[in-house]
Subunit: 437 residues, 2 copies
């Protein structure tokens, strides 16, 4: 039975989160969490959902980029196998004219990721499995076939990738059972937004610990005195045993990062995240060498080539994959394999709109079939906007529950899409009317 | 007298160059050279023109990104001074929500570059000077004020930049006079497109030499046997004294680049351009260390942070700026200063649509006020599509003539815009009708 992708819908969806200063940090003071959202529909009525996460303005540009990919998908046989998903990923990222717009970075690459992820959602649903299980059931050869090794071979060859996956094959079933029983450790960021006052920070930090989290995260980077005070308050609130990561959201140059983190080091932050530009491989290496706190980055790293170099240069202690910035599941498999090759733990970025929903699948797949380990690994959790998804991420006692529903947990509720469509949905029309009156 | 930007027009302009295989290379077999084009209009009737160069599909995405920048320009006082141009560049590249779409890379960053360049065109016209003279008349302090030093201070501080510019201040007038008398050396790429047969290659290579060029460039990277034959033919055609650069357009991994260039080295290629991914700083350093041919890159390098690392890592022998990929004149000043700091010559990328027109101004400014040297420096020249500009680049006897008309040489003829608008201009309507019949 042949099944064809017959529909390709793109939506510009935005949430007015800036009104609460949710998500505020040193570089992003007033985000409106948004999604450039795509729905693939087949002629038998199946659906695949995917999206890019943005923080407001420009979401329409990403939507236009997703639309530009429609000819590669519409009319195509609905992807079901690793081979189908490899060829779709290849076609979306190797079109020479669209590649010129990156290459493999920025708006066009994020758009390819949204469509690739929608195809994975579709294929996993057809297989009746959540994406993490769908991936974990593939052979090492199938998984390697999904990866674009272009520009990677000086760090990771297909044979080396196969060896990593074969080494993790024994115990796959046991680890999947562990995930179903215990879930995957999470850490909590909602306490630490820069726009929150001290009392709210302390209250939310204590709440996170009493909810079972063993790690929280604070935003830093605007004012060192404020950061010393806030980190001190947080440390006093949670005690010495809870990890406190800090996140500068690319605010610093190298010397400033070193100086700032030396001043925060007495509070024992667990890592410094995004100390400087995500493009600055050598800068991250210098920050890591210049002060005592471990270095993490990745949510804005454009592609596997930059991750490769962060690992080659010994620039990071943690690799933070993002489900929706690189070219989807396929490129994230490459990044997981690179991290495994270099022995660096992957601690995914999440938050935003739907990023928790997506990335939990990749971390769980990593545990089952790639690194084989949860040691030192933890998925970010932010408790925003989950109510808009039909299969929301569930975090209990500080752990992500393993998703059980078929697909990528990517489907936003139809009524949420309708309400938040920009600029014509009722949520935005009401605000436009409010401003006009 | 206040003057305001009251109009912001965006055009999607495409030329059907794929029909002739002009511009074909190892990664881009069938480009339709295109421009996402912006016109700023003031309430006194002045105009500023700018554009991104693309190779066809997706040009509408860049146009949408340019449109997203309209609110930062429309209604603003028309920029005239270094201070105005610094603040406009800052506003276009520091909007937190739009920055999320890069950061500082890909579609959104290229769009910022188009608008920044249009503002320079406008300001230079109001000053009655070509951009290279307009820049060369600014003080070291003004020039430094134009640069965003974020993420650069580990390689170049504002004080170091000032020192470079002060060192080049004596002799500015003499070097400007030299440019007006002698122009700036060019090299010629039109012989070497991969889609051309051997006879055309030999004929065009000989023609370039008889036209006065002392350097040509060949595309390589699809088939080593073909490259050995074509490079041999070209070397025989031009003799030992003419430089032949080769360009792989990102085709290789590191080991393949080393192997391939070792095989081509006996023909004494002058440089290998884009041997691998433009993101791969460490890869370029390995290619440079692994074989005898000098390494050049830059036309796809996303921003000043990656150029900084290419220089820090000793990864390149030549820096190839592109006028329309980074955030316009301002970011290119940063890159020129970085190259001067590290003593690496700048040999600009050109070709495409209008890139020769723009980048000649930057190379001439570099000679007058930054590096102070033309030694080892040469601007690419491709003889396509100049007829569509009202102030086209003029190359005679292998040298770019110094532009004399006010502005950035960026204005496309109105009739060319009308004819090539996509998809509704007559050039494209005729092709759509031809395919339909």
């Amino acid at each position: 039975m042949s099944e064809t992708v017959s529909g390709f819908e793109v939506h510009d969806i935005r949430f007015p989160t800036s009104e609460q200063l949710d998500g505020s940090d040193a570089m992003n003071p007033d985000p409106d969490y948004s999604a450039a959202y795509v729905v693939l529909r087949t002629d038998t009525g199946a659906e695949g959902h995917g999206f890019c996460f943005t923080i407001g303005r420009g979401n329409e540009v990403v939507a236009a980029a997703i639309q530009a990919l429609s000819p590669y998908v519409t009319g195509r046989a609905a992807p079901r196998t690793a081979e189908d998903l490899a060829s779709l990923h290849h076609d979306l990222t190797h079109d020479s004219q669209l590649r010129w717009l990156g290459p493999e970075k920025g708006v066009m690459h994020m758009a390819a990721g949204a469509v690739v992820n929608a195809a994975w959602d579709l294929a996993a649903k057809r297989a009746g499995r959540p994406v993490w299980e769908f991936l974990s059931a593939m052979s090492p050869e199938e998984l390697v076939s999904l990866v674009d090794f272009r520009y990677l071979s000086d760090a990771l060859t297909p044979d080396e990738a196969l060896a990593i996956l074969y080494a993790a094959e024994p115990g796959r079933a046991e680890r999947a059972a562990l995930l179903r029983a215990e879930g995957y450790p999470a850490y909590h960021t909602s306490a630490g937004w820069l726009g929150y006052d001290d009392a709210k920070l302390v209250r939310l930090a204590k709440q996170a610990v009493s909810d079972g989290f063993t790690q929280i995260k604070l935003k830093v980077g605007v004012d060192l005195g404020d950061d010393v005070r806030r980190l001190g308050l947080a440390r006093a609130a949670v005690g010495p045993a809870v990890r406190i990561a800090v996140d500068a959201n690319q605010r610093w140059d190298v010397a400033e990062a070193v100086r700032w983190m030396a001043a925060l080091a007495p509070f024992e932050p667990y890592w410094i995240e995004e100390p400087t530009s995500p493009d600055d491989v050598l800068g991250h290496a210098a920050v890591r060498a210049g002060q005592p706190v471990k270095v993490a980055t990745g949510e804005h790293v454009a592609n596997r080539v930059v991750f490769k170099q962060l690992l080659q240069a010994g620039a990071v202690d943690f690799v933070q994959i993002d489900a929706a910035r690189v070219a989807g599941v396929n490129e994230n498999i490459a990044i997981l394999l690179l991290a495994a090759k270099y022995g660096v733990p992957v601690c995914p970025h999440a938050g935003g709109v739907g990023l928790c929903e997506l990335v939990q699948h990749l971390a769980m797949f990593d545990f089952v079939a790639v690194s084989g380990s949860r040691d030192g690994r933890v998925i970010e959790y932010v408790d925003h906007l989950h109510e808009h998804f039909t299969d929301p991420a569930v975090v209990e006692s500080g752990r992500y529950r393993a998703p059980g529903a078929p697909g990528f947990s990517a489907r936003m509720r139809p009524e949420s899409i309708a309400a938040h469509r920009y600029p014509d949905g009722p949520v935005w029309r009401a605000r436009a009317n409010g401003r006009a009156s």
